[in-house]
């Protein structure tokens, strides 16, 4: 699910970047640091949409040669966070005997064979896939599936999810072979 929120962060800036371009430097450093990162609480930061406010810079106590000034910045950003129970559309990247891996943006999802309906069987070969007995539904690399998230885990740069398609209205959305 996507969220658009205001978050705050303390940015540390070296005095060499002070001057006319202070705010620009601050903003570009913020973007570099924050966009593409993940946290357990907010999920994946997709993009920063605007800066709400930049507080007064704080110079640390005592003097040291590597003094960095701290600026508290409030910024608006677009967040993406999968939730347990959420239905997502994902793009299949790898199919093997144990299940298949799919991705939805920055999120990597694994659907185990045990959570794929029994009616679908694994077919090995050049393009390994899961097919129903009558061949009507096929899950293979580069097809879209609708799946339900049953667990999520976040680390510094990626979100791992475990999903299932063993429910109503889930599985293949469109088959690239049929569409062609």
């Amino acid at each position: 699910m996507f969220f658009h929120m205001v978050l705050e962060r303390n940015m540390q800036l070296h005095p060499r970047s002070f001057g006319l371009n202070l705010r620009e430097n601050l903003v570009s450093k913020l973007i570099k640091d924050v966009e593409g990162s993940c946290s357990g609480r907010h999920g994946f930061v997709v993009a920063i949409t605007g800066i709400e406010s930049v507080g007064k810079g704080l110079v640390p106590d005592g003097t040291s040669s590597s003094a960095l000034v701290t600026f508290p910045v409030k910024y608006q950003c677009l967040l993406f966070r999968p939730f347990r129970g959420e239905i997502l559309e994902a793009f299949v990247t790898l199919v093997n005997r144990m299940g298949f891996f799919a991705e939805a943006g920055p999120v990597q999802i694994f659907v185990s064979k045990l959570l794929i309906p029994d009616s679908m069987e694994f077919q090995a070969g050049d393009m390994p896939n899961y097919t129903t007995s009558d061949g009507s539904v096929k899950i293979q690399k580069e097809c879209e599936v609708r799946l339900k998230i049953i667990g999520t885990r976040v680390d510094a740069t990626e979100i791992f999810c475990v999903g299932t398609i063993n429910d109503d209205f889930l599985a293949v959305i469109n088959d690239p072979a049929l569409a062609a």
Binding site: R84, R97, I150, G151, T152, R153, V162
Partner: protein, 464 residues
Amino acid sequence: MSVASDSSPVHSSSSDDLAAFLETELDSDSDSDSSSESFPIEAAEVAVVDVSSNHRLKRQKLEHPEDETENVASVTFSEEISEASSSKSPCEHPGTFGNMCFVCGQKVEVTGVSFGYIHKGFKLQQDEVTRLRDIDMKALQSQRKLCLVLDLDHTLLNTTVLRDLRPEEEYLKSHTHSLQDVSGGDIFMLEFMHMMTKLRPFVHSFLKEASKMFVLYIYTMGDRPYARQMAKLLDPKGEYFGERIISRDDGTVKHQKSLDVVLGQEKAVLILDDTENAWPGHRDNLIVIERYHFFASSCKQFDHRFQSLSQLKSDESEPEGVLSAVLKVLKQTHSLFFQDGGEDLSSRDVRSLLKQVRKEILEGCKVVFSRVFPTKTQAEDHPLWRVAEGLGATCATEVDASVTHVVAMDVGTEKVRWAIREKKFVVHRGWIDAANYLWKKQPEEKFGLEQLKKQGADDLTVEK
């Protein structure tokens, strides 16, 4: 921010904040009025699934916000859903993806074997691995295939770092093939990795033939990017190896290779590697191959004083080279395994079949060793004795009429003089080593003792 380090008491206060924050954000946002109706119900369903599953497990901080936003209207939902989920049998957690069980989604203790080469963060429990191996065995039998694990360096190719190129090897830079179309090429310049790679002669035909009989794996002591790059050179279409590229980052024990990350049953896996010591637990599955030294730096690495193939401006022969000999052995073992005999396939073991093939090499030879082993040691325990026996020869300590070969390092011994008198073959130990590496009995004339003086005792230069 690590989710796992949070403890329960801290949960409620901070998640309260987030919950309140989320609510205010959603309420204040004018577009989301329609979505705010659906949100509490969705959240309640999610909360209920959590509540009905194990409380005692340390739950992620993520799950708590849903608890708090539960609405009165959704109480009836909760009863129905909790009944449904409690009827499921407890999950066995066959494996984890990023420390969550991939069947129930709960956070579990991470144990089991890591299969990083399939996908990052993917782990399987030992029982599940065994179950998968059984399924794999059946699938392979129906396709009439076994498993073959291949090493890269000095086995299928030879790589050198660009800086270690000797001046006499500079001519190679103009002979490199383009990386855009690797088929048919065998020497490649990889500027971005500062390396140059030479594929062993016959390797393309070898892979093509082997892939018909075996499911191929790469297992190298290089790192993952190196392994993937080499796989692209050997197998541009990805048809031979697929995802089965195991690098040192995927191994479980440092500096050692093991079949624990290979999803094939041990009795159906053969290994092709130049280093015996890399596979301490699987010597019986291993076919040791002669090292491919194309670049000078490779020879130097192993303290060899002879010139490398690039310095000699030559290469191994394709039809009579090492890979071609090994391919014949693989074909032989494969046909023995799938032979229509009395017993069924599940009781056949490729390791015993390999021993069988090996014993045919020096069958019928009786070997006596002269001044090869130090006098204080037990002759039967010496590795060379063992190798000779493994090749099917009978070994003895004293000469008699049935002896066919005398292996010596020196011309002047009594046994050698006896052999010359009785017109028996006199060879140096290289004859046994050559038979071991080339899987074929070599002509004795090439290993006579006069040859020994010419080549020098250290080298194992096998005549091709």
